[in-house]
Amino acid sequence: MSFRRLFDEQHVILEIQNHTKDEALREMVEHLGKIHRFPKKRVEALVEAILDREAQGATGIGKGVALPHAKHPELKQIYALLARCSEGLDFNAADHQPVHVLFLVLSPETNPEEHIKFLRWISYIARQKDFRSFFLQARNVEEALGLLDEFGPRED
């Protein structure tokens, strides 16, 4: 599948409202849950799973990028959300840099191959310096989505 298709205008938060890590993560999961009409119980379970995962080891992958993720048995497909925090979140990243770019990934428990292919897709984009700097300057959601087209792998 094309992972680019997981993102449309609704799947980008241009500016996260909450500036602490846990609250920002909750905001992202709730945003995604609202778009896809997840039951409240599932949203709570996902928030908990995301926070648990962070407690085991922060998903800040360096250079201001984080990849919070969790799996849930009720999910039938991968859900994703791209978000920005201009101010920077203290994410306990390996390189100690504040996080500005977040890719939230919610995956089903089946199909681990698809999950790691998606991580590959994200890291392909996120490791490009120009993607990171242009994303921080994006003026609207359309521009942000355009960057996924521009910097995403040609084939997937």
């Binding site: 360096g62 250079k63 681990p112 191959e113 999950h115 590959r120 996120a126 490791r127």
Partner: protein
């Protein structure tokens, strides 16, 4: 201590096999990077013609290796042998996950 001529440039290569069910997802990738960073040697991991720096999390995640994949590691430097050994053990352990 001077490691002596030759030791500095020692190159060690080996295969790394993904044995855990979930493959090289984020947590194992972080473990690989953490292990690689314990060593001074330059360490590269490759899959087919894609070569990444084992000390970069974004690089390692680019490999997207699923269970059964065979990766190649190449270390060069004063502790190349120890680095490759540590990575082989880490992969063989399945990162502490379900095999």
């Amino acid at each position: 201590m001077d490691p002596g001529p030759g030791k500095e440039e020692e190159v060690v290569e080996a295969d790394l096999v993904l044995v855990n069910r979930q493959g090289l997802h984020a947590r194992p990738s972080q473990m690989v990077v953490k292990t690689a960073n314990d060593f001074a040697s330059k360490i590269e991991i490759s899959r087919d013609d894609q070569v990444v720096d084992a000390k970069s999390i974004m690089g390692v995640m680019m490999l997207a290796a699923e269970k059964g994949t065979v990766l190649k590691v190449r270390a060069q430097g004063p502790d190349a042998r120890e680095a490759v050994q540590a990575l082989k053990e880490l992969f063989a352990s399945g990162f502490g996950e379900e095999i």
